[in-house]
Amino acid sequence: MSRHTAPTTPGDEGRPAPDTMVKVRDLKTYYEGGGLLDDRPVKAVDGVSFDIRRGETLGLVGESGCGKTTLGRTLIRLEEATDGEVLFDGTDITSLRGDQLYEWRRNAQMVFQDPDSSLNDRMTIGEIVREPLDVHDWKTPADRRERVKSLLDEVGLSPEHYYRYPHQFSGGQRQRIGIARTLALNPEFIVLDEPVSALDVSVQAEIINLLEDLQEEFDLTYLFIAHDLSVVRHICDRVAVMYLGNIMEIGPTEELFTDPANPYTHALLSAIPKPDPTASRDRITLHGTPPNPRYPPTGCPFSTRCPVRIRPDEHENLDDEVWEGINGLREIIRERMRADRSIRERVRERFGLETRFATIDETYDELFGDLAVPDEVDRVLSEITDAAGDHEEREALDRLNAEFGSVCDGVDPDGGDEPVEPEYYEVSDSGRLSYCHRHDERYRETATVIDDRS
């Protein structure tokens, strides 16, 4: 993450500078373990940089748990950033305190995901929508009441609803109320945190249209967090794809959807069901689950599941299934390294009793049992499993990386000791950026590799 070969602001050379509203630079949000002792933090957002231009809708997509909601919440200061900065019209809002923060909060608001949970059921609609105005002492109480009524009208409810309770409304209407509350203070920037994912499909379109109309009317800038890709394609000007706290690819929506550059984007888009039964492109199935964000992999965050992982030349032709096994073995060794063995377990092991760790040999059998593994590979693998069996996980991992590791696992191809991470490569004229080693001239492009390996 430390190096940027491509400029992160795609307007730095030549092109007319777009009006940037929010500038995020190397933002990190870590959750502390909660224990009293020094725990490893959960790296929910692990160093992201991007810009949001005035008046645009930037989509933020990714699997659940990839940190997109945390990123959105950090942008409006519901979470404290651990590091990095968020420049909002040039002011770093991560360091705002007290009154400055209070004043700034007018400018940035959020629409929440769950309309059932975002409205206080004990208050009337009027009180809910009016509360931001009360907090900011906006004009007189009578003016506030008027404003709330016009806001209700604006979002497609009627002013008579002022004295109703949230109970009495459907999910879509509740979301409209939430939107009215968000608009109360006339913000410039709104984080939409999956605003339609909890709604019926029939209602989703209405809310999306409402959001689009409002954007036009009030010159709003949106950060649209979603996992529904078709909605994103419909509403967003640009899209950022997030995985495990990192932005994998960011660029104009259509371009990104039609010609994805990053392997993760490929995989994500291939998950969209196609109405055409004869469509040629195979689905890319990702194996396993995303890694624990407390222990992200070294190197590229996507390396553990990447379908086009760079392989060392000497093993390039190894069977895909064997590679899967090797990746699985790596994960298991990493897992074993983290697991603290209790004294009881050490004693049991000493006396040859069963422990909750399956022996590494069983694991090996499970992974490679019915595969034809070439002899020399098998020999290396046995060495590795032996080391792991003796609880020398570090050594086993080093050996594994030396033999099968590549730049994706953080192994420096130039022989350096520091783990390397991918860089952002500019992959099109529009300034689209992708976070992958495949864009380096030394390696083949993603699309060709996918075709090769499938």
Partner: protein
């Protein structure tokens, strides 16, 4: 109970809609006027008692203020004892300022901005908040200093004395329809038959029955009138056509077990509030100072003679050999609707004043404990982290000591030391405070889950996102959700407090004589259960059982009423909301 609850939540939620409400009343004043007239009429009927109540409230406030006012000096004295008088003075001042500051925090929000603008400082929002608190603290401390250290204090206490004296005088002189003066039931037989000194010359039993019946009729009317007030508000002045509270009320009305609990609790409370009216003899005469009050009766030799209560009580004991049972007169023409106690005092008087004691202890203990529990649960669930851990440790420490043992230990220590807080109610207040201290961890534990849950709701985040202050967020967005739970646990625990008080008194540890207490009655009567004097222990025993069951039933009913998911028939609410 349900009406008071909804009233209080009303106040919570609509602080600045007052003007609107006033406008609405002005537009359509008839229903409100009619209701208010009815209320005024009801109050007027009992005006003497209303003033007596006000006087008593003054007394309680005065006692609390005095107790709090003595804290800084007592802290100062303790410090002065070890570090010298200068340090003692500083400690007094610091304690006073801190206490004054603590008082201002919840109040400062309602002070208008103008109060700070006078200072002419350019303050930020936060600065303004603190300036308000500082200003209020200064005013409070200055006022307290004036009262404590200057001649103004003398004038001030004279003023207070005049006001309380005035209220007391009014209470004594104004009539009320349930008063003893209007319907007297103490008198004596005449040698030629008939009664002297009773209401219309009726027998004391009839006079007492009339007065007691009047009390309950009055109380029921008042309750119905309050309910009507809610109804009037709902039909004429409320802007919302439906609120969640309507459902709560409807569910409560259909819960017969809960209504039974409510009825018994109502009886108990009425008996406690109107104790002077429902007791056949005056407690002051019969229980507190039997030596100094004489009364007349028709002696066996046919002459009207005079005697003191202490002597008459001695002859009227229900102790196995001698029994004055329920619904009978003793030898001194005194009507004893529930018989007499083992010490010859009137059981009904004892029971009604005992109800007062129990109610005061129960409400004080639960009120205080619930307050601590709610405040701590709000703080610990909003801030989490260290605040939470400290609260957990504090509550666990208290819970680690067996409650009854803790209560006994502390009460003995304070009573032996003759501490001022052991004086009121002969140890009753002390007991209430100890109960509050021993029971808040339990209540806090039971509302901890709900408050953590509500603190995770997105509306709390939303409030944070537009800059709502933590205090307001807790009050508006979290407290209403915990209120239901604390109401339930509070009403369940009130039964426990009543029974524990009785148990301690039974053991001779709780409340000392002469303050009437049910536990002492049971203690006194326990050896006569198998004799003619069975009623001495049985009647208060049944009363305790009933009251505790009733509070539990009420608590259960409140829980069911508050919980929307307890509703099987949702169609009604759905239909109302359908048009929206």
């Amino acid at each position: 109970m349900s009406t008071t609850q909804s009233d209080s939540t009303d106040g919570l939620e609509e602080p600045d809609d007052d003007k609107l409400f006033r406008d609405r009343v002005r537009e359509n004043p008839r229903p409100a006027m009619a209701w208010l007239a009815g209320l005024a009429f009801l109050l007027l009927l009992e005006i003497g008692r209303v003033f007596a109540g006000v006087g008593q409230a003054f007394g309680i406030v005065g006692f609390t203020v005095e107790l709090l006012a003595s804290v800084p000096t007592s802290v100062g004295d303790n410090v002065a004892g070890t570090l010298g008088s200068a340090a003692g003075f500083v400690a007094t001042a610091v304690t006073a300022v801190l206490m004054a500051f603590a008082v201002t925090v919840p109040v400062a929000g309602s002070v208008p901005d103008g109060a700070v603008d006078v200072l002419g400082l350019d303050l930020s929002r936060r600065g303004r908040r603190w300036a308000k608190r500082a200003e209020l603290t200064f005013v409070l401390v200055a006022a307290a200093g004036l009262v404590a250290y200057t001649p103004v204090g003398g004038a001030f206490s004279a003023l207070i004395g005049a006001i309380t004296g005035g209220v007391d005088a009014l209470a004594a002189s104004l009539p009320s329809i349930t008063s003893r003066d209007l319907i007297p039931n103490t008198g004596h037989r005449l040698p030629e038959g008939g009664w002297e000194g009773t209401f219309l010359g009726l027998s004391p039993a009839t006079a007492w029955a009339i007065r007691t019946g009047l009390v309950f009729a009055y109380a029921t009317t008042a309750l119905v009138w309050l309910w009507r007030g809610f109804d009037v508000y709902r039909t004429h002045y409320r802007l919302a056509d439906w609120t969640p509270r309507d459902d709560t009320v409807r569910r409560f009305r259909n819960n017969y077990w809960g209504l039974f609990g409510f009825a018994i609790v109502f009886l108990f409370v009425v008996m406690a509030l109107w104790a002077p009216a429902v007791s056949p003899v005056e407690a002051q005469h019969n229980i507190y100072e039997p030596n100094s009050h004489e009364f007349q009766y028709l002696s066996e030799d046919g002459e009207v003679t005079s005697t003191t209560h202490v002597f008459a009580n001695l002859q009227s004991r229900s102790d196995g050999q001698n029994t004055i049972g329920p619904m009978s007169y003793d030898d001194y023409d005194r009507w004893a609707p529930l018989g007499t106690t083992n010490r010859g005092q009137d059981m009904m008087t004892h029971l009604s004043y005992g109800a007062r004691t129990s109610l005061v202890i129960g409400l004080t203990a639960i009120g205080l404990g619930a307050l601590i529990a709610v405040v701590l649960s709000l703080l610990s669930s909003y801030y989490k982290g260290v605040t939470d851990i400290v609260t957990v440790m504090a509550s666990d420490t208290i819970q680690a000591v067996p409650a009854l043992l803790l209560i006994m230990l502390v009460s003995v220590v304070f009573q032996e030391a003759n501490h001022p807080i052991a004086q009121p109610l002969d140890g009753g207040l002390l007991l209430a405070l100890i109960f509050a201290f021993a029971y808040w961890p339990g209540m806090w534990r039971s509302i901890r889950g709900p408050s953590l849950q509500v603190s995770e709701q997105e509306w709390v985040d939303a409030a944070k996102s537009y800059g709502q202050t933590p205090l307001q967020t807790m009050r508006k967005h979290m407290a209403p959700y915990i209120a239901g739970y604390i109401l339930i646990y509070g009403s369940l625990l009130i039964g426990a407090v009543i029974i524990s008080t009785a148990a301690l008194t039974f053991l001779g540890l709780g409340i000392n004589p002469p303050t009437p207490e049910w536990g002492r009655l049971i203690d006194g009567g326990q050896s006569y259960v198998a004799t003619d004097s069975w009623h001495v222990a049985t009647i208060p025993g049944i009363a305790i059982v009933l009251v505790v069951i009733a509070f539990n039933a009420l608590g259960d009913a409140i829980r069911d009423a508050i919980d929307p998911e307890a509703d099987v028939d949702e169609s009604e609410a759905a239909a109302t909301g359908g048009g929206a």
